[in-house]
């Protein structure tokens, strides 16, 4: 019984923790402009993150090595420092977007200016990182994040024309109002938001934080293989909501209130209240994850002591890095930069940095010195290689498409 509860908790946390500001905004933007025609990208991205998150978790559980230690070791100092620079900056961008997201969600709840919420949110994040145990932090934000299921409920309440919706999803084509270039630009953004590198930095470091061993592998596999796809379904539900409500009215998504608008139409005030709780939890959880990831990447590259399982004085530089990153995030948002815009850029830049992160994981997952008998099987390798090619293409196409489309305008 206790075991079953543990499995259920793990899955629920994975679902609730899957969505972040990137998924919320990108799915909604895409739904409002392209309908369901890009849903296949969400499916692809979810499969990809399942494959690599699971792999990085397995490597961490067996060898005790987290992802960025592996990046450093396999790519060597020079290429790893290039990867560190890119990953760290993108992570900082994502971190900034997530804090902004928390502030926007709190604004929906309170109608107090988001700029006033930013320092409060950042301080709360720091406090949790400084004082709260890893597992509690993960479970609370994950479970509250489940409130976003309202999006899925809303799709049914809105009584859409199912045939059109599924038709768009199954036989996608570029809508007449959009160009091929913007279609592919948003495809990459959506892919980047599903496969953001911080997720594997966080996932593998979390495995070390929670001292996973071989025994925990089944649990982790279930969490990933059940939780992430269900999280992906929520992502699709957000896109569907936007397709049903925002697309026909020609509403552009420029803030979180538009993301929540379809839910308001479907379920009224109560539904909105639940969605706001879900948004706060999801963005707050993601802020924790990105803040920790900034500490993980730097500390693991330089070989410093890291981890929340240690007291802050036992991982001093790790904690200092996170404090600095939060301060930078606050400073950027204080200039009045739009968190939704920052989010849109962060997911595309994520796509660019993907190959250098995922290649080393794949290589180490095949290395017997690290993995013993638990190296990748042929099927996993085949799927991973296909994804590596897709990731590489997306990464190379991102910048040109960004220029051609004027960042998706």
């Amino acid at each position: 019984m206790k075991q079953l509860l543990g499995v259920a908790l793990g899955i629920l946390t994975a679902i609730g923790g899957f969505l972040d500001i990137g998924d919320l905004v990108t799915s909604s933007v895409v739904g409002s402009r392209f309908g369901m025609t890009l849903v296949w990208v969400i499916v692809l991205g979810v499969i990809g993150i399942c494959v690599f998150a699971q792999m990085s978790g397995r490597v961490a559980a067996i060898s005790g090595r987290a992802t960025f230690e592996i990046v450093r070791e396999r790519l060597g100092a020079r290429m790893a420092v290039a990867n560190l620079g890119a990953s760290f900056l993108i992570n900082l961008l994502t971190l900034t977007a997530e804090i902004g997201g928390v502030a926007l969600a709190l604004q929906l709840a309170s109608s107090i200016e988001p700029t006033l919420w930013v320092p409060v949110a950042a301080f709360a994040v720091w406090l949790v990182i400084w004082r709260v145990k890893f597992s509690i932090m993960e479970n609370v934000t994950g479970l509250l994040g489940l409130c976003l299921i309202v999006f899925a409920v809303a799709v049914f309440l809105l009584q859409p024309d199912w045939a059109t919706l599924t038709g768009q999803a199954i036989a996608p084509s570029v809508p007449a109002t959009e160009t091929g270039a913007t279609y592919w630009y948003y495809a990459i953004a959506l892919f980047g938001s599903a496969m953001t590198p911080y997720e594997v930095f966080f996932f593998s470091s979390g495995a070390v934080e929670e001292k996973w061993t071989k025994k925990d592998l089944t649990q982790s596999r279930i969490n990933v293989l059940v939780g992430f796809p269900l999280g992906g379904i929520l992502s699709i539900a957000i896109a569907a909501c936007a397709t049903i409500v925002l697309l026909p009215q020609g509403i552009q998504v420029t803030s979180l209130s538009q993301v929540a608008l379809p839910v308001a139409e479907a379920g009224g005030k109560l539904a909105v209240a639940i969605v706001i709780v879900g948004m706060i939890a999801a963005t707050f959880g993601a802020t924790l994850e990105t803040t920790l990831s900034s500490g993980y990447t730097i500390a693991q590259f330089f070989g410093w002591s890291w981890g929340k399982f240690r007291r802050p004085v036992k991982a001093a530089r790790f904690h200092l890095v996170m404090i600095i990153c939060l301060l930078v995030g606050i400073a950027v948002l204080a200039t009045g930069a739009d968190p939704v815009m920052i989010t849109e850029y962060s997911v595309v830049f994520s796509a660019i940095a993907l190959p250098l992160t995922y290649l080393p994981i794949l290589l180490v997952a095949n290395d017997k010195q690290y993995m013993g008998d638990l190296v990748n099987g042929r099927a996993t390798n085949a799927v991973a290689l296909v994804f590596l090619v897709i990731i590489l293409v997306a990464s190379l196409a991102a910048i040109p498409l960004m220029i051609i489309t004027g960042a998706g305008a």
């Binding site: 100092a77 004082r131 709260v132 145990k133 007291r311 802050p312 904690h319």
Partner: protein, 135 residues
């Protein structure tokens, strides 16, 4: 060409543990005797060899120190730190080399960890709650 190319003499085998520097040593994590991270292994210092002199009959150099700190910068961006600036961990402290390099001493007393100690003593220890376990 595969490792089993016929035109090459068969590979040497040795009684002891074989370590290819790039493959098994460089960029690996160094842990102290309690499993606490000390640094990464950024470079190695080997016993000195004379330049422009026949080395026949000279005994092979051995690893004297693991290096960290400034030497990472020069490895990435080029250049060469003066010998006095190198942060060394003597080879005699090493107890095991596997996925990580393990030392037989506590990291507390090594030069390689002074920045960690500085940040701890001057910043982190002064913030309330920094000395306690998370709850």
């Amino acid at each position: 060409m595969t490792p089993h190319d016929d035109s090459l003499a068969p590979p040497d085998t040795y009684a002891g543990q074989v370590l290819d520097a790039q493959l098994h040593l460089l960029d690996r994590q160094v842990l102290d005797t309690d499993g606490v991270p000390v640094s990464t292994l950024d470079d190695l210092e080997i016993t000195d060899l004379p330049l422009d002199v026949s080395l026949r009959g000279t005994p092979a150099p051995t690893i004297a120190n693991l290096l960290t700190g400034v030497t990472l910068g020069t490895r990435i961006f080029g250049g060469r730190p003066p010998s006095s600036r190198l942060t060394r961990i003597p080879w005699r402290h090493v107890t095991d080399i596997g996925v990580v390099v393990t030392l037989g001493v506590s990291g507390e007393r090594l030069d390689a960890t002074w920045p960690e100690r500085w940040v701890r003593d001057h910043i982190v220890a002064h913030i309330p709650g920094g000395r306690h376990d998370p709850e």
